[in-house]
C-alpha cells in the first residue's frame, strides 16, 4: 500500500509520550500499524523516551517502596497477551477489508444509515475528551456534504479512496482536519470507501441543502 498522507510530527510525538486522547490515539496507532515509515518514526521517538528515562535524575521513592514492591509479586500471574481470533473477528465485522489491531477489544455498534449512501458504525472508545470514534462507509461516488468542523477530525482510510481540496486519500492515508479546514470529500468511483474516524466537537454542514440536512445527519 502506497501511503502519502501521514500524521504530523506533533501528533506522533503526542502518541509516543502518552499525551494523545484515546480517540485520536486509536486512529493514529491504526495508521502506524499499517505504515512502515511511521512505525520507524515512532520507534525512534520511543527510543528517545527510553534514553530520557534512563538518564533522568532519580527522585527517591518512599522508604518502604521496595518492600511493598516485593510483597506485590506474591501470587501475581505473568501477563499473557490475548490472542485475537482474526478469522472470527473479520467474519463478525463483515464487509471489512481488515480491522486495525488498535481497534481490538472495543465493542462496535451496528451499521446505521446516516445519509444517502453513507453508513456509520460507532466504536465504543471511552475517550476522555468526548471525541467519538466510528467507522464510516460511503458508496462509490458519494459526495459528502460540504462541511467544516468545530473540533479536530482524524480520518484513516481503511479501503477505497476519497478526494478533497487537500488531496487524494487511499488506504492507509491519514487526513487531519480542524476548524480551519472547510472541505467536501468525494468518494472515488468504483469502490466503497471505509474510514476510521475520531471526531472532536461536531460537524457543521454548509449551504442551504446542508442547513436543511443538518437535523438529519447525526454525525
Amino acid at each position: 500500500m502506497s501511503i502519502s498522507h501521514h500524521p504530523s510530527e506533533e501528533m506522533l510525538l503526542l502518541l509516543a509520550n502518552g499525551r494523545l486522547d484515546l480517540g485520536r490515539c486509536v486512529v493514529v496507532a491504526a495508521h502506524v500499524e499499517s505504515c512502515a515509515e511511521c512505525a520507524r518514526r515512532f520507534r525512534v521517538m520511543e527510543a528517545v523516551g527510553g534514553v530520557m528515562l534512563r538518564d533522568a535524575a532519580p527522585v527517591a521513592m518512599a522508604d518502604d517502596a521496595l518492600a511493598l514492591a516485593m510483597s506485590r509479586l506474591d501470587g501475581v500471574e505473568r501477563f499473557e497477551p490475548a490472542v485475537q481470533d482474526l478469522a472470527v473477528s473479520s467474519q463478525a465485522h463483515g464487509e471489512m477489508p481488515y480491522l486495525p489491531e488498535a481497534l481490538g477489544g472495543y465493542r462496535m455498534g451496528a451499521w446505521e444509515w446516516i445519509g444517502p449512501g453513507i453508513h456509520r458504525r460507532m466504536v465504543e472508545v471511552p475517550d476522555e475528551t468526548g471525541a467519538r470514534v466510528f467507522l464510516l462507509k460511503a458508496a462509490p461516488g458519494t459526495r459528502m456534504p460540504d462541511h467544516t468542523h468545530t473540533g479536530t477530525e482524524l480520518t484513516l482510510v481503511l479501503s477505497g479512496a476519497f478526494s478533497h481540496a487537500g488531496g487524494h486519500y487511499g488506504p492507509g492515508d491519514l487526513d487531519e482536519a480542524d476548524d480551519t479546514v472547510d472541505h467536501q470529500p468525494i468518494v472515488d468511483a468504483g469502490e466503497v470507501c471505509v474510514c476510521l474516524v475520531a471526531m472532536q466537537g461536531s460537524l457543521r454542514l454548509k449551504g442551504m441543502a446542508g442547513r436543511l440536512l443538518q437535523p438529519f445527519v447525526r454525525i
Partner: protein, 221 residues
C-alpha cells in the same frame, strides 16, 4: 486519584500550565557520557530482565532500584504530584515483573521498553481517574491488562547508546524541545509558551530534530 491529567478539561488547564511553568528554568541538557558505559548498562539491564523473566527476585529488586525512582521523576516532571507519581512507578514495575518474558532485546533497549510500560500505565490510571473516581485502586489494577494498548504492536526501540549519541548531536535548541516533550510532557503550544517563542518555530525544531535523528540512526530497524 491523579491530581493533574494531561487531557485536563479547559477549566483544568491553568493548573496544568502552572505546574509546568513553575520549573521551566530547570530544563537540563543531556550530559555526554561514555558510549561504552551506556551500552554496558543496557546490556546489564537486558540480562536483569531475562533473570526477572525466570523469576529472579534479586534481579527485580535491582531493576526496581534503578528504574522506579526515575519513573517517579519522569511522572513528576510531567506534572503529577509525588504520591500518584510513586504509584505509577510501583504499578509500572509490577507490570515489568509480569511482562518480563515478553521483552525482546532484538526489538529495543530495556529503558525504551520500560518507558512504554510506564507511559501506558500512566495513561491508564488517568483515564480511570476520570471515568470512575470512586473505584478502588486495587480493583482497577486487576482490569489493566484487559484494555487494549493501541501501540503495543509497535512498541520497540534500539540500543540506547546509539540513540543517546544521536540526541547529543542535535543542536541545543532541538535537544531542549525533545526534553520538554518527553520529560515535561509538554505539547507544542505549551513549549512555545514556556520558551516564549512562536509555535511555528517549535514545530519546525521538532520536525528537524526527528529528521536528523532518523538520518543519524539510518540503520535503525
Amino acid at each position: 486519584m491523579i491530581a493533574i491529567e494531561h487531557w485536563a478539561s479547559a477549566a483544568d488547564r491553568p493548573v496544568l500550565r502552572n505546574a509546568r511553568t513553575a520549573h521551566r528554568s530547570k530544563v537540563v541538557q543531556l550530559k555526554p557520557m561514555a558510549q561504552t558505559r551506556s551500552d554496558d548498562l543496557s546490556g546489564e539491564q537486558a540480562a536483569l530482565l531475562r533473570a526477572v523473566a525466570a523469576g529472579d527476585r534479586e534481579a527485580y529488586a535491582e531493576l526496581f532500584a534503578y528504574f522506579a525512582p526515575r519513573i517517579k521523576a519522569m511522572m513528576m516532571r510531567g506534572g503529577l504530584a509525588p504520591t500518584p507519581a510513586e504509584d505509577v512507578a510501583q504499578d509500572a514495575m509490577l507490570l515489568v515483573w509480569r511482562k518480563a518474558h515478553l521483552f525482546d532485546a532484538e526489538m529495543g533497549s530495556p529503558a525504551a521498553w520500560i518507558f512504554t510500560i510506564a507511559r501506558n500505565r500512566q495513561i491508564d490510571l488517568s483515564r480511570r481517574a476520570r471515568r470512575a473516581p470512586t473505584e478502588s485502586q486495587d480493583a482497577d489494577f486487576e482490569q489493566v491488562d484487559d484494555e487494549p494498548l493501541p501501540d503495543a504492536k509497535v512498541a520497540a526501540a534500539q540500543v540506547d547508546g546509539k540513540v543517546r549519541a544521536a540526541v547529543l548531536r542535535l543542536s541545543a535548541e532541538q535537544q531542549q524541545v525533545l526534553q520538554l516533550s518527553f520529560f515535561e510532557g509538554q505539547s507544542q503550544s505549551e513549549i512555545a509558551e514556556s520558551l516564549g517563542i512562536p509555535l511555528g518555530t517549535v514545530k519546525s525544531r521538532t520536525r528537524l530534530a526527528f529528521q536528523r535523528l532518523r538520518a543519524l540512526l539510518g540503520e535503525f530497524k
